[in-house]
Amino acid sequence: MGILDFLKRKPEASAGVAKERLRIIVAQERSTRGGPDYLPLLRNELLEVIRKYVNVDVDAVNVTLDRDSGHEVLELSVALPEGKPATSA
């Protein structure tokens, strides 16, 4: 590192953050792609409801629509936070 570099502010190593954010958003957008336009909205509303009860991550809810020989299956999956087993209220 040069003498003058000590005087300049070093930019943050932010590429790792970028990669992690992209990994999540790309996976999320792929899962609702090709489905009806309401899927992302449905996902977000579900997420809001679930968050009233459990503090899950923003990428915890997965909504997919599968076409299966003639009929469509709407599949929801919710990943609950680790170490906190669901308590019966």
């Binding site: 932010s14 590429a15 990994r23 090709g34």
Partner: protein
């Protein structure tokens, strides 16, 4: 057989026109007969990058509307016998291009014995971008190591796999080539920029080339000479490698390692 290549990205300003010009020129250097078409209706630019802006008389929309023949509208490149440019129209009417019209022009280029047609797509995912990709056999998806560009290119990859003629007809899918441009290995090493591997991991597809960020690109556009013709430029050489890979040759990636600074720069920074 004529192969149609779309150069697309979703996000604007990532280097589609720069890439289209160098790709088309590179294919011509390889002895192929090539037409490069500007699909950016209303924002003609490819003619400037190719250095033929003063010779545009008729454009793509004129041909589609039967106001000129394809022969009249194709501009022969000054430097390469087998390279032709079809300029975009300056009309503000975004509906000037139709799917049938585009198909007609591509069919005529096929009959004329062109080996490759390179389609320079406009930004976005609207009609113009859709028309540019619809008939393609290959897609070069231009991406910068930057969050919004990577996300948009994933959307484009999704559209290529579903909203194109090959997809609709259930034929073999479009061949997708991911081209990472404006890459700066020093910034990658400093952890400030997504690496080749990061981008490949996120998108789940490997790159066909990596074009370094280079001041030669601006100089090339200033002069109207595609950067691939500059053999002293890393960007130009990286485009040459990319063309070779698209033609099926295997070459290792170059210019993706950081450049070590000289002694003076190490002392004084910069």
């Amino acid at each position: 057989m004529t192969e149609i290549i779309v150069v697309t990205s979703g996000k604007g300003g990532v280097g589609k026109t720069t890439t289209s010009a160098s790709l088309a020129t590179g294919l011509a250097l390889e002895g192929k007969k090539v037409a490069v078409i500007d699909f950016d209706v209303g924002l003609r630019n490819l003619d400037l990058i190719m250095g033929c802006e003063r010779r545009v008389v008729y454009d793509f929309v004129n041909v589609v509307h039967g106001e000129a023949t394809l022969k009249q509208a194709l501009i022969k490149d000054k430097r390469h016998e087998t390279l032709f440019v079809l300029a975009a129209s300056q009309t503000r009417d975004k509906d000037a291009l139709t799917q049938e019209g585009v198909e007609k022009v591509l069919d005529e280029l096929t009959k004329e014995g062109f080996d490759f047609v390179v389609c320079d797509s406009p930004a976005g995912i609207e009609k113009g971008a859709h028309l540019a990709m619809y008939f393609a056999d290959h897609a070069v998806v231009v991406v910068n190591p930057e969050v919004s560009s990577v996300r948009d290119s994933d959307r484009i990859l999704g559209l290529l796999a579903s909203k194109t003629r090959r997809a609709e007809k259930g034929e073999t899918p479009i061949k997708q080539h991911l081209l990472l441009t404006r890459y700066n290995p020093n910034r990658v090493e400093a952890g400030e920029m997504l690496s080749v591997k990061d981008v490949e991991d996120i998108l789940g597809i490997s790159v066909v080339g990596v074009i370094p960020e280079s001041e030669n690109v601006l100089a090339a556009s200033n002069a109207g000479v595609p950067v691939i013709l500059n053999d002293d430029s890393n960007a130009g050489l990286a485009y040459k490698d990319t063309v070779a890979r698209i033609l099926g040759r295997e070459l290792p990636l170059r210019f993706i390692e950081p450049v070590k600074k000289g002694f003076l720069k190490r002392v004084f920074g910069g």
